[in-house]
């Protein structure tokens, strides 16, 4: 059975690193893996979507609506936008951070109210204040690793395996904060 995970956020939030940590952890488990990223425009504060799929044999690198086992959302509006991709018994893990997109900044549209309440009526939602946890861990940029921690708990891959990949992926000087960040997320 192929496991399908979607990571969504805003360009610059570190979603790519998160998907690579995830990808490298699952290959060490002996799975076939595919990851799909879209580069280019994504750096410049636009919506960013990454798909990670793993299992015995993975063909398509993309995920259709109603298919994702887990959606890891780095921002509330992006969580809301990605909601249709979640399968019926899937789980959405959403960072409570909010970032205004340009139509909201210019006043053309409003940032939807009470997204978490609205989503939790429809789907299985876990919200995380990853920014505070990242601050507590000593590096605000470790938001992505906090979220990876929360997600890791929802997979059947052992804690140590994740730690192993983080050690290989994250630069030495940020490692301590990132390992803490992972732990906070995992033990939430």
């Amino acid at each position: 059975m192929t496991k399908k995970i979607m990571i969504v956020g805003v360009g610059g939030q570190g979603t790519l690193l998160a998907s690579r940590i995830l990808g490298n952890t699952v290959i060490n488990e002996g799975y076939d893996v595919k990851l799909s990223e879209v580069h280019g425009m994504s750096q410049r504060g636009g919506s960013v979507v990454t798909y990670v799929k793993y299992g015995d044999k993975v063909y398509s690198p993309i995920i259709d609506e109603g298919e994702a086992d887990i959606i890891l959302a780095f921002e509330m509006l992006e969580a809301y936008r990605a909601m249709p991709y979640l399968k019926k018994d899937g789980v959405m893990i959403a960072n409570t951070q909010k970032m205004d997109p340009m139509p909201v900044i210019t006043g053309a549209m409003e940032y939807p109210q009470d997204i978490a309440e609205k989503m939790s009526k429809k789907i299985n939602l876990v919200t995380v204040d990853a920014l505070s946890l990242a601050q507590k861990a000593g590096n605000v940029k470790s938001v992505n690793v906090v979220l990876i921690g929360v997600m890791a708990k929802n997979t059947d891959i052992a804690y140590e395996k994740w730690v192993e990949t983080i050690k290989k992926t994250v630069p030495e000087k940020f490692l301590e904060a990132n390992l803490k960040a992972f732990e906070y997320g995992y033990n939430l």
């Binding site: 410049r44 109603g66 809301y80 210019t106 549209m109 939807p112």
Partner: protein
């Protein structure tokens, strides 16, 4: 052990393993990472060329010189490279020669959705199409061998989802490739009519041999599962079809998409009651089938627009409905890409918008100058067109209109193909104002060096093209260098230059805010003397928004560039550490 690798990185690995020693490219999404990954291999000479035509010619020259060589580009880059490519088809190769082109179905970051397979047919070049990272490596390696086997350049065609997906790749040793002997061969390499006429005969004979090869090569794979439905497909579409339909149908997966086999396809069709052709973009394989008189179903059921999905394929072939899903009951604001906080282009467009100028735009981060609230750019066609199209507009509408018209073009794009337009303006007595947005880097594709940065692809210091001297050398007498963040002066300069009765170049100089050498500190803050005039909102800075009716600055997004301080007429914005 297998490694998780981006499709583009796998192409680079394939070239490395094949023993390639020269790779020349111009960056373009989604192809850029191929050449960036080539840099990891010290055995290969790599360069960012000024444009794709130069890149292609460097690769062709390296092949004539006996090396295995490659040039990589995005689909529209192949348009720029097309001239040498068509004739290289006639000359053939010495060392193996591969052109790797990445299409962008869905236009994730492109100005059109062209299908590069038509180039293979038009230039009579063999084309391979991998469908995942593992095949990216294998097919690229094979492309070099085939190139030498048939004495032809080979095109490897990718698409965004293949280029930018990661999959498992098994690494192998690099082959010990020895340079082919270089021998003067005028009949083969000097394409003047007398020789080219003879070479065309060779090309047609070669294509016939390639068709025979297509019938038997293991690049084309038949997978028989079911006698009722057959699917002919290639590239990423194979992966979508396989995911959607599994073993319920048979497949003819074409790894070689030009020239296409005839017997293989006919035999496959005969074995199945219904045959679908599943291919993104144009009906390239489908038309081939129809010319062979085969009854296949293609674009009458599948769209020519955008990317396919497994779900879409399942719906067409088995009429199976989409998965159930939960949708929001309200409109969700889109989140388009924006110029980053601290972007130097923001200041330029703020001034152009304020002056109400018509802006002939170009390809780069600054294309975002067309987006609200700046909404300053009037047209964007292709790289370099900002300069030449403005010349045409001015010739069409006359001198008064020209005083309201500017071109904007990035430093790398100017070198790519803006310089020729500028020469046109000088030579044909144009009177345009061209603003070169010199941000010290090729920004859009993720910070590649270019001839104006002073560094090579391997970060070795090199001669730096001086844009000011270059503009002067082609005959522009009015060349002004100005910092767009000095809004007052920049506005004055633009006003003066559009008014002037001779052509002019303004070099808007300020580095990209994402460069490591750029060190803005602190963040901006709005004080109590804010009159809420919202002038700063006109900058379209992602850090500035209105909360509860009051303008405020998001500290986590602000990088302290200070542009808003220069805009505020009341001095209400200050900087904090």
């Amino acid at each position: 052990m297998k490694k998780l690798m981006l499709g583009n990185a796998a192409v680079a690995r394939g070239a490395y393993e094949a023993g390639a020693t020269v790779v020349a490219s111009y960056p373009g999404t989604p192809s850029t990472e191929i050449t960036e990954n080539i840099v990891k291999y010290d055995e290969i000479y790599a360069e960012w060329s000024p444009n794709e035509k130069v890149a292609g010619e460097v690769a062709i020259g390296a092949s004539i010189g006996g090396a295995r060589a490659m040039s990589c580009m995005k689909h529209v880059g192949l348009n720029v490279m097309a001239d040498p490519v068509f004739t290289a088809s006639y000359t053939g190769v010495n060392g193996g020669l591969v052109f790797c082109v990445a299409d962008d179905p869905g236009m994730h970051s492109s100005q059109n959705e062209q299908d590069s397979r038509h180039y293979a047919k038009a230039a009579k070049l063999l084309m391979l199409e991998p469908s995942d990272s593992s095949e990216c490596k294998e097919f690229t390696k094979k492309a070099f061998e085939i190139s030498e086997q048939f004495d032809t350049p080979v095109i490897v065609r990718l698409s965004t989802r293949v280029s930018h997906s990661q999959g498992l790749v098994e690494e192998c040793e690099r082959v010990d490739y020895q340079l082919k002997e270089y021998e003067k061969n005028i009949a083969k390499f000097v394409m003047m009519p007398g020789n080219a006429i003879k070479r065309h005969v060779v090309v047609e004979e070669r294509t016939q041999k390639e068709i025979e090869f297509a019938e038997t090569t293991d690049l084309n794979v038949c997978e028989i599962n079911d006698s009722k439905i057959g699917v002919i497909t290639s590239g990423i579409s194979y992966m979508y079809a396989k995911e959607a339909l599994g073993d319920r149908v048979s497949y003819l997966k074409l790894g070689m998409v030009y020239p296409l086999p005839e017997k293989l396809i006919s035999d496959f069709c005969k074995k199945h009651e219904t045959v679908y052709v599943i291919e993104e973009l144009d009906p390239f394989i489908e038309e081939h089938c129809k010319v062979l008189g085969l009854d296949v179903i293609g674009k009458e059921k599948f769209t020519m627009l955008g990317e396919y999905t497994p779900e879409m394929i399942k719906k067409v072939i088995f009429n199976e409905d989409k998965n159930a899903c939960e949708k929001a009951e309200e409109a969700i604001p889109v989140r388009p890409p924006v110029m980053c906080a601290g972007c130097p282009h923001r200041a330029t467009f703020y001034v152009l918008k304020k002056l109400g100028l018509v802006v002939s735009g170009d390809i780069g981060c600054y294309t975002l100058g067309a987006v609200a609230p700046l909404a300053s750019v009037d047209s964007t066609i292709c790289m370099g067109a900002s300069v030449s199209a403005a010349m045409g507009m001015a010739k069409a509408r006359g001198a008064e209109f020209n005083k309201k018209l500017v071109s904007v073009i990035g430093d790398s794009t100017f070198i790519h193909s803006g310089i020729t337009g500028l020469i046109d303006i000088v030579y044909n007595k144009g009177n345009n104002t061209v603003i070169i947005l010199d941000n010290s880097i090729t920004g859009m594709t993720g910070h590649q060096d270019n001839p104006t940065t002073g560094f090579t692809i391997r970060k070795e210091p090199t001669k730096q093209v001086d844009l000011e001297l270059l503009a002067k050398a082609v005959g522009i007498e009015r060349v002004v260098v100005a910092d767009p963040f000095d809004l007052k002066n920049f506005e004055k300069v633009v006003k003066e230059e559009v008014e002037a009765d001779e052509p002019s170049v303004i070099i808007a100089q300020r580095p990209c805010a994402l460069l490591k050498t750029v060190k803005y500190t602190g963040h901006c803050k709005i004080g109590d003397n804010c009159k809420n005039c919202k002038l700063c909102m006109k900058l379209g800075c992602p850090a500035i928004s209105v909360k509860d009716g009051k303008v405020c600055i998001d500290e986590t997004q602000c990088n302290g560039c200070g542009l808003c301080i220069n805009v505020c007429p009341f001095g209400a914005i200050t900087k904090e550490d």
